[in-house]
């Protein structure tokens, strides 16, 4: 358990250090995420972390626990909008329309592209699982 927390924090710290030191456009947690994904893909099996059993390993359980409660971590920042209530009163409706419209476009584009390319693949491959 504590090892798993150590892995997450170490990767996050490494990401933060790399992001700042090399002045990368990617934020620290994203570089940390990439480091952890690469670590799991290339070193995972060496340390007994197989993709089928990762959920019962400490790193899998800690991560799933974090993802299951992800919503609460958004709350303190969202409460921060109380400081910019004048901006929201002025632009709130426009912001909402932009977000709603853009969300629809994104849903349609992503689902359409996914379906289109899947159809181009040989059919036996996509049914095989």
């Amino acid at each position: 358990m504590i090892q798993a927390i150590g892995i997450l924090l170490t990767c996050q710290l490494a990401g933060e250090v790399l992001s700042q030191a090399l002045n990368l456009p990617l934020p620290g947690p994203v570089i940390g995420l990439i480091i952890l994904i690469l670590g799991l893909f290339f070193l995972g099996s060496r340390y007994g972390l197989m993709e089928e059993t990762i959920d019962v390993e400490p790193i899998g359980r800690v991560s799933q626990g974090l993802l299951n409660t992800l919503g609460i971590f958004f709350v303190p920042a969202a409460v921060g909008t109380m400081q910019v209530s004048d901006v929201l009163a002025r632009y709130g409706l426009k912001l909402f329309v932009a977000v709603a419209g853009s969300t629809c476009f994104t849903l349609i584009t992503t689902a359409f592209l996914f379906g289109y390319i899947v159809k181009l693949l040989p059919p036996d491959k996509s049914n095989h699982d």
Binding site: C11, F74, L95, A98
Partner: protein
């Protein structure tokens, strides 16, 4: 009463108070959402945020005071972003098997997600700080805030827009896909993960396990794809 005053002053001064209130309000919001299960507008993040703002206004508490306690909850955004590595690794076989559909849909989704929001914003004449805040609205909260902060936007507004995109995407995905006759749960799930991050993913799991699985992968990959794409998009369009 006079005996209680030092205790009250002590409690108000410790970060424990607002951290505890944040957790309790969220737990109550989950209960409310559990009761209102049929209503997709009932979202625990939204209910908690509104409740906490009302509580802070009623008690004349500043956001700075609140954040001294809430920062411990806020801090967890970082580790929870890294936790996304696990669902991606778990679905490794699926990623290799559907590498091209995922890559193309992800690239298209990440670009559409940022560009379309920006263009509507420009059309409305929104100021630059808000345009930057809109661009990452489909990305999971921690990453979206980090992108906005780096590009010089308003991070707290981004978080509110992220929550809005999540709730809106989770509500419209099923009717929208039905109208467009996109019936494949893999594509539907992947799309809602890319467009509506964790909130959309939670919704996808309630619709179909395959949709949920693809949504989790879509959310995770879009955190990376958008972090790469958005600085480029902003540089080109703003």
């Amino acid at each position: 009463m006079t005996n209680l005053t030092p205790l009250w002053v002590y409690i108000l001064g410790t970060p424990l108070l607002w951290m505890t209130v944040t957790v309790l309000v969220y737990v109550c919001s989950l209960r409310i959402v559990g009761v209102l299960r049929s209503n997709p507008c009932a979202n625990p993040i939204l209910i908690s945020t509104v409740t906490l703002i009302i509580l802070l206004k009623m008690t004349h508490t500043s956001y700075a005071t609140y954040f001294q306690g809430a920062q411990f909850v806020h801090f967890m955004l970082g580790p929870s972003t890294l936790a996304i590595a696990v669902p991606i690794y778990r679905n490794r076989k699926l990623l290799t098997r559907l590498f091209f559909p995922i890559l193309v849909a992800l690239t298209g989704g990440a670009i559409t997600g940022s560009v379309s929001g920006l263009l509507i914003g420009v059309l409305f004449g929104l100021p630059r700080g808000l345009l930057i805040a809109i661009a990452p609205k489909s990305v999971t909260g921690g990453v979206a805030m980090a992108i906005t902060a780096r590009m010089g936007g308003v991070p707290s507004i981004t978080m509110l827009l992220v929550v809005t995109a999540g709730i809106f995407g989770a509500i419209v995905v099923t009717p929208l896909m039905n109208i467009l006759k996109i019936n494949d749960y893999a594509g539907r799930g992947f799309a809602v993960g890319v467009a509506a991050h964790g909130v959309g993913t939670a919704r996808a799991y309630t619709v179909h396990p395959t949709a949920g699985l693809f949504a989790a992968v879509g959310m995770g990959l879009n955190a990376i794809a958008s972090a790469i794409a958005i600085p480029i998009v902003l540089k080109l369009l703003l």
